[in-house]
Amino acid sequence: MNFGQFLLRRLFLMIIVLFGVACIVFFIANIIPADPVGAILGGNAPPEAINRLKAKLGYDQPLIIRFGNFIAGALRGDFGVSLKTSNPVMKDIMNYFPATMELAIVAIIISIFLGITLGVLSAVHRNKAIDQFSRIFSILGVSMPVFWIGLLLLLVFYFKLGWLPGGGRLGFFTYPPPRVTGMYLIDSALAGQWDTFKEALLHILLPAFVLGYNATASIARITRASMLDVLKQDFIRTAKSKGLKRNVVIYRHALRNSMIPTITIIGLVFGGLLEGAVLTETVFSWPGLGRYITTGMLFLDYPAVMGGTLYIAFIYSLANLIVDILYALLDPRMRM
């Protein structure tokens, strides 16, 4: 089963998984005992106005037809029109998703860098100060709710110290860079606007750290465990017997081997990030897909919630596929 077949099989599986997710999403959206039209019209609207709008939006068609339209649309990338913003959901997603993606990418970079360093240090200096610190740090990461940590850091770094900005993607009066990818860091770099880049970076640090905190904790734990495992292997003893310096043994030999289980965790953890965005974006007023779905949830804006969730599931599966490919590249034993 060469690489091509491996890829094909995985893509096929991904489509099935996404189809399953679409069914779950559609099932949930239509079973919730509340009608979206009422939500849009607000409290005061009389029943007649509601029924008129319901008919107009085709909510009175039987379930099966609506499901068929939804799936057909999803394949074409058209999730219908959002009840709230009244533009096609896909347009909204394209508008909001880069913000979430940028946040997730910076978060994953921070958590990989921090997570692996902490993991390696605590494995190499087992049960010493750094090990205890990193375990407490990861325990805190797993035990405190995201919004609590977010508010606390905002309070300290923005309100009391004023080192970092309060929220949002850019300063209130900075002009967003010309849109290429929708990610301000990349767009401003491409356009050479370095002060906007600096400002975007300052704005993304805190939310990315908070979003990535949980991921950092998990990566640190896994790296530590797999590092301890690898350091016990025979080939480490061989490397030492070749008189290689300690750091060379750790970073050239041990680290590369312990990367393999860590990579798989990064795939899983990335999923957690996309979903953690829902809370982090609210706390840091970050106009991303997470908030689009939550506000959609508040308004039972079915098309938006269905489209957004399906899109996140798609990105999650894609990320996992990439991780598996990385896994194969890193571990020669996997390459048949």
Partner: protein, 523 residues
């Protein structure tokens, strides 16, 4: 449009200090949860803050002004108007020489197009015209006509009091849009509503320059405004969903106005010398309603017992921290027909006695549903504790507002905490909704099928004599107090935290929450 937009931001860029210092002199920065906004199309907009933005961008047929504490309809695009003898037809004379923000002249044709648009669009706010005035898609052409190039007539289905008609016509949906620009941006027959969601084509003091959803709304002064130029060149509304964040930004000076603070956050923010509290009487109310067709609540005595179990003073003082007015009638303070009386207070013995009389000596169990905002949750827990003292065991169900209204409209609730925001500044709007089940509004939802009250409401609607009309509403309120399905908690107070540099914000905000005149604010 694009060019001016670039120009504006370039100037802002040059003058911009880093994000941490105070906001620029010529811009008012408001922090608010814009996630809940839907559209800025005058024919469709239906929420609190968006209505105020629409009011700033569009001139209307008739407008409202607060003159010595009372809201009165005043001329705007309609320079003057006359009413036919039978009270059914209103003739409006259109002001000449008014220009839209892009310089086109505003003609009667634009007014006709703008008045018909909500009906043709089946828009949310169209129910005023359709369900009250009886103007619908079929008869719209003969009900709203253009007589000559500066006169428009509107014919109603009943001789409503002038105050009611003009109150309704001063709503957002009569915002005058530039017909040519709107039709130029029409997309498959939507009368330009998608384009107008985040653009403006009106003649108001400001122009909607940009709306990046969940991020920022920017208004800019309209150079062609027929009135005087507003002191502030720009209004910027930043999306800050978390109330506690709004407070941090306010105290740091990154925003000038925090729009959605909770009473507690405002009390804390006030301690900062740079922050000033602004309070203005609001136009909506907050009530506990009981489904008059469910179990024990069928019996008026039980409803009376519930009304005597609640400690209204503590709700106003401890939950709302005096950001509310103790008003127990359904007509708002500051409206014609307001009744000064507040008959209810917490008297547990009396409540228990009433319950015993009604056959429930040791109380009963009831489910109370409400929406999931911090204030509503606090009120629900407070009422749960108060009713428990009288032996009534309350189980709370806190849901999304959409689900709450779903159940409320289907009369599926037992007890509910909700609020009513007025649509037009006339007691009729409150009477019909709170007391007449025939209006299919709140009275109907709580299954209070009381013909006496409903009839009183209809009389009040068409009674020309002011004194008689006032007496009708007085009798209705007395009756409603002791038989209605409601326990009115308070009339809202609009409150904001603002920076001390912002001047005469209170004058701009006065108007029982119906109005917000950005042109009065300066820095």
């Amino acid at each position: 449009m694009k060019r001016s937009f670039m120009l504006v931001f370039l100037t802002v860029l040059i003058v911009a200090v880093t994000g941490f210092a105070a906001t620029p002199k010529d811009t008012l920065v408001i922090g608010s949860n814009t996630g809940i906004f839907i559209t800025m199309d005058p024919a469709v907009a239906y929420e609190v803050l968006p209505n105020k933005i629409v009011a700033a961008c569009y001139a209307q047929l008739v407008n409202l002004k607060a003159i010595d504490g009372v809201i009165v309809p005043v001329p705007d695009i309609a320079e003057s108007w006359e009413i036919s003898e039978d009270g059914l037809t209103y003739i409006f004379y259109i002001r000449q020489g008014v220009k839209f923000s892009n310089g086109d002249p505003l003609t009667a044709e634009d007014v006709l197009f703008s008045l018909k648009r909500p009906i043709l669009l089946d828009s949310v706010s169209a129910w005023f015209l359709v369900d009250i005035f009886g103007i619908n898609k079929d008869n719209v052409d003969e009900k709203i006509k253009q007589i000559d190039e500066n006169t428009i007539t509107i014919t109603l289905n009943a001789p409503y009091a002038e105050n009611i008609t003009l109150g309704i016509l001063s709503n957002m949906f009569t915002g005058i849009v530039n017909k040519d620009v709107v039709l130029a941006n029409e997309v498959n027959g939507d009368l330009g509503t998608a384009w107008l969601a985040d653009h403006s084509a009106g003649a108001g003091p400001y122009v909607l320059v940009q709306w990046e959803r969940n991020n920022v709304i920017l208004l800019e002064a309209n150079p062609n405004y027929y009135g005087s130029q507003p002191p502030l060149k720009r209004i910027m509304i930043r999306d800050v969903p978390e109330a506690s964040n709004q407070r941090l930004f306010l105290e740091r000076g990154d925003i000038d106005v925090a729009w959605d603070l909770t009473p507690q956050l405002l009390t804390e923010a006030k301690k900062n010398p740079n922050v000033v509290e602004v309070k203005v009487p609001g136009h909506s109310n907050e009530y506990l309603a009981m489904n008059a067709s469910w179990g024990p609540l069928k019996d008026p005595k039980v409803r009376e017992a519930v009304r005597y179990s609640i400690n209204y003073k503590e709700i106003v003082e401890d939950i709302m921290l005096n950001n509310a007015m103790l008003v127990q009638g359904f007509i708002n303070k500051g409206y014609f027909g307001y009744v000064e009386e507040n008959p209810f207070y917490q008297d547990i013995e009396k409540a228990k006695a009433l319950l015993a009389e009604a056959g429930y000596p040791n109380g009963f169990e009831v489910e109370l549903i409400t929406s999931n905002t911090d204030t509503r949750k606090a009120e629900a827990e407070k009422i749960q504790a108060d009713l428990a003292k009288a032996g009534i065991k309350v189980n709370l169900v806190i849901v999304q507002s959409s689900q709450m209204y779903e159940k409320y409209r289907a009369q599926g609730h037992q007890m509910i905490i909700a609020g009513w925001g007025n649509d037009y500044p006339d007691p009729d709007n409150l009477a019909m909704s709170h007391a007449s089940y025939r209006a299919n509004q709140l009275a109907w939802r709580n299954a209070w099928y009381d013909d006496y009250a409903a009839t009183l409401c209809e009389w009040g609607q068409i009674e020309p004599n002011q004194d008689k009309r006032e007496q009708i509403y007085k009798d209705l309120t007395e009756y409603w107090f002791h038989n209605g399905p409601f326990a009115m908690l308070y009339q809202t107070v609009e409150f904001w935290g603002i920076r001390k540099e912002v001047k005469n914000f209170e004058e701009a905000a006065f108007g029982y929450g119906m109005l917000f005149d950005f042109t009065k604010v300066s820095k």
